[in-house]
Amino acid sequence: MNNATAAPIDNETVGGVQTDQMFINMGPQHPSTHGVLRIGLTVEGEVIVKAIPDIGYLHRGTEKLAEVRNFHHCVVLTDRWDYVSAMPNNLVFCLSAEKLMGLKIPPRADALRVIMCELNRVASHLLFFGTYGIDTGAFTPFLYAFREREMVLDLFEMLCGARLTYNYIRLGGVMIDTTPEWLTRLKEFVEYFKPRLDEYDTLLSFNPIFMARTKNVGCLTAAEAVNWGLSGPNLRASGVDYDVRKHDPYCGYENYAFEVPLGENGSCWDRYFCRVREMRQSIKIIEQALSKLPEGPTMAMGVAKIPKPAPGEAYAHVEASRGELGIYLVSDGGISPFRMHVRAPSFVNLAMLQEKLVGMKVADVIAVLGSIDIVLGEVDR
């Protein structure tokens, strides 16, 4: 952090005219850096000569904090990384801790976890859809997206009492079982939401100005995307079929039929449209999960109040809304994790900015930054 100081400004004389480069601090207070990201931009006119992303403004050291909390308490910490979609965060910690403890999760809890994560993916992608509209100058999609996102958050609130930091997925299962009324509401939402996706396409996806702004901007080839370690829709937009749900299934994702939307050339528009299509797939998964929701308990038997897993190491990863979210957990047999490392998708996705922004226009910075959909809570952890 703080090392993106003003780059040496290059003053040169071209054809008798002295040209100056200008250093612009984009962020940490800026309308479209999605939090407290700072990008030190050196521009020549409107063209970026050098871009240095600077992060760490939101660093809270959760990995260190986890080392003095017991495993149940750590679930609370996870909510604060990707606060836009906190369910997969809960899930990935629980998965890795359950691997350490050797817990067996009841099938109803698994199905509920899937429903929650997919709902949260919808909510998160809706936020992306709305804010990306704002980033490109269209304010209206934002409110349409929030209308639906509000309903998802209402669903979460009805079930677990929280709208943002759920702490719903717990070690051994989930916090609370659903009520029949909640399931009715969820079905209502699914029915309500499906036609909305077509509305979004009409409103933004195929708008000629929007496409001109985002198609062929910030393109990444498949090899580049893999080399940068991108994950989630950012990687799939480049045509790389890597989805943890298919690749290394968890929570019974292998039992659901869904497609993995792929893009063509990894442009901003592809990244955007992958997400929009993913919402459709998430709804499909939710419908399947609802149709065959197994009965039974939602919490595994024998989860200790203060778990002390045997010494060992575990890695679990899930397809979170922003990409592959992984947790590497080491236990020394004590009450708290000996080491927890978070493989945060936003953090890894963001790294590519420093090279990809060079040569773009100032307006493209916003388009590219918006399209990789970062959450600074997860970048800085």
Partner: protein, 493 residues
């Protein structure tokens, strides 16, 4: 609300069961019309269409539960606001009916106002003659005798009055169009917009006073000049921005022959003065001492200068058809109807008219720095562009100017392409409506188009904006001029 409760009373009071199809009102099966569990249900049901219901029942202590009902069951949780099929059709919603009545009321009110002002305008003529009569000099200067004011002095007073009126058109337009924009954008975005501003007594019809109150707030706000700013330039920029806007309104037609100044070169005059504003914008960008402002100012300079060209060339066919730069001559050239039905407006001239209209509309939007051409202030990129560092009244002057130019563009569109103050329908009730009302209506329609575009489209990028201007709009406006020449040679002469 009153109509809603009427409906409720109108429906059969079967508790829970869906209303049978024999119900007089088109009550849907799923509609939650059963009566509320309470006293009002027992009251006699007056007809829903009655203009004034019988004495209103005492106000219930709880809010009307109709909206919170589903399958005859009261949903008391706060999630009951989810979209539910409560009404069978839009017209069953009381707000829709009220809205329709209000809209009709607005038009009737406008017509009455129009007739009243038409009468007043006759008084204005009387006033003008009265100014030339001996009495005013006596009143003004107490001069002895019954000498008259010189004709020059009469015109000076007369022009001052006209300038004052036009100035207030611009100021009141700011009040009105900001409120209108907020309401329209809200309804485009499935919101309701301002609702509370007005009066604590409940005279807050759709937040009518919102802009006035915002204006007071802006007046009271601290006027900040950043340390890095170039003080005089920073302070002068809003003035340089707003003055040309006011001056450019001089020859604008507000109705038939209704303009502050009748200029032979009206069109050129307006374009010339509207172009000066860009100096103020660049000054604001430069003088703010902020890099975002600087970028915004430079973008504005490039954009406005570029879009002047297609804007100017798109009206050349109009000028060719009319044969004059004088706005009132242009309007006169559009008088009459083809076959007594289709008005001879320039927008209805095949192909040429529509292309010119579209290009002029697009270029006008670009001139006013509004989405999708708002790159100088691009909020998500440049924070606020050239007005990032302005606050209070200086900032609001930029906005006043923006809305002034929207109004100017709307009036010009109405003048050049929509026949000015002439009626679109060649039938007595419409042709009797005064010309200034038609003019205003057309201008407001165009202003709505501006707002509609703004709240629908995303923003261009700088280079795309320039490409669009130089590679698309400009060639087409040139081609349009050529086609207009062919029309003149073969058809119109």
């Amino acid at each position: 609300m009153s109509e809603a409760s009427e409906e409720k009373k109108d429906a059969p009071a079967s508790n829970g069961a869906p209303a049978p199809a024999a119900a007089p009102a088109p009550a849907p099966a799923a509609a939650p019309v059963p009566a509320a569990v309470g006293a009002p249900a027992a009251a006699p049901a007056p007809a829903a269409a009655a203009p004034k219901p019988a004495p209103k029942p005492a106000k219930a202590p709880l809010p009307d539960p109709v909206l919170n009902r589903k399958n005859g069951r009261l949903l008391e949780d706060r999630f009951a606001t989810w979209p539910q099929p409560i009404f069978d059709s839009k017209w069953q919603r009381p707000s829709y009916r009220q809205g329709a009545v209000m809209l009709a009321g607005i038009f009737v009110g406008l017509a009455v106002l129009g007739i009243a002002v038409g009468e007043l305008s006759k008084w204005a003529d009387l006033f003008y003659h009265w100014l030339g009569s001996p009495l005013p000099k006596f009143l003004l200067f107490g001069a002895p005798g019954f000498w008259q004011l010189s004709p020059l002095a009469v015109d000076a007073i007369w022009i001052a009055i006209k300038v004052l009126i036009v100035l207030h058109v611009i100021l009141i337009n700011g009040l009105w169009s900001i409120w209108w924009e907020r309401k329209i954008s809200a309804h485009i975005q499935s919101r309701v917009g301002p609702t509370y501003a007005g009066s604590p007594k409940g005279m807050n019809w759709h937040g009518w006073a919102q802009t006035a109150i915002d204006g007071i707030k802006l007046l009271l706000k601290e006027d900040i000049t950043p340390v890095a700013a170039d003080g005089p330039v920073h302070a002068l920029a809003p003035a340089i921005v707003v003055i040309p806007c006011v001056i450019a309104f001089a020859p604008v037609l507000f109705g038939k022959e209704l303009a502050a100044a009748s200029l032979d070169i009206g069109t050129l005059y307006i374009f010339a003065f509207a172009g000066i504003t860009v100096f103020g914008v660049v000054m604001a960008g430069w003088g703010s001492g902020n890099k975002y402002s600087l970028l915004g100012g430079l973008r504005a300079a490039a954009q406005i200068v570029s879009y002047e060209l297609p804007r100017g060339f798109s009206v050349v066919p109009v000028l060719m058809f009319a044969g004059s730069l004088d706005l009132s001559v242009i309007v006169k050239a559009q008088a009459g109807y083809w076959g007594g039905i289709i008005p001879r407006w320039f927008v209805f001239y095949p192909v040429v008219g529509q292309i010119a209209f579209a290009i002029f509309l697009i270029a006008s939007i670009a001139e006013t720095n509004r989405v999708p051409f708002d790159i100088p202030e691009a909020e998500s990129e440049l924070v606020g562009g050239f007005h990032t560092e302005y606050s209070g009244m200086k900032w609001s002057i930029f906005f006043l100017t923006e809305y002034g130019y929207v109004l100017l563009g709307s009036f010009l569109l109405a003048t050049f392409f929509l026949g000015g103050g002439s009626s679109p329908i060649n039938l007595p009730p419409f042709t009797l409506i005064p010309s200034w009302l038609w003019m205003l209506g057309k201008a407001m329609l165009m202003m709505f188009t501006f707002l509609w575009v703004r709240w629908t489209l995303p923003r261009f990028r700088v280079d795309q904006l320039m490409d669009f201007c130089w590679k698309f709009l400009l060639p087409w406006s040139f081609a349009n001029v050529v086609v207009a020449g062919v029309y003149l040679a073969l058809w119109l002469k």
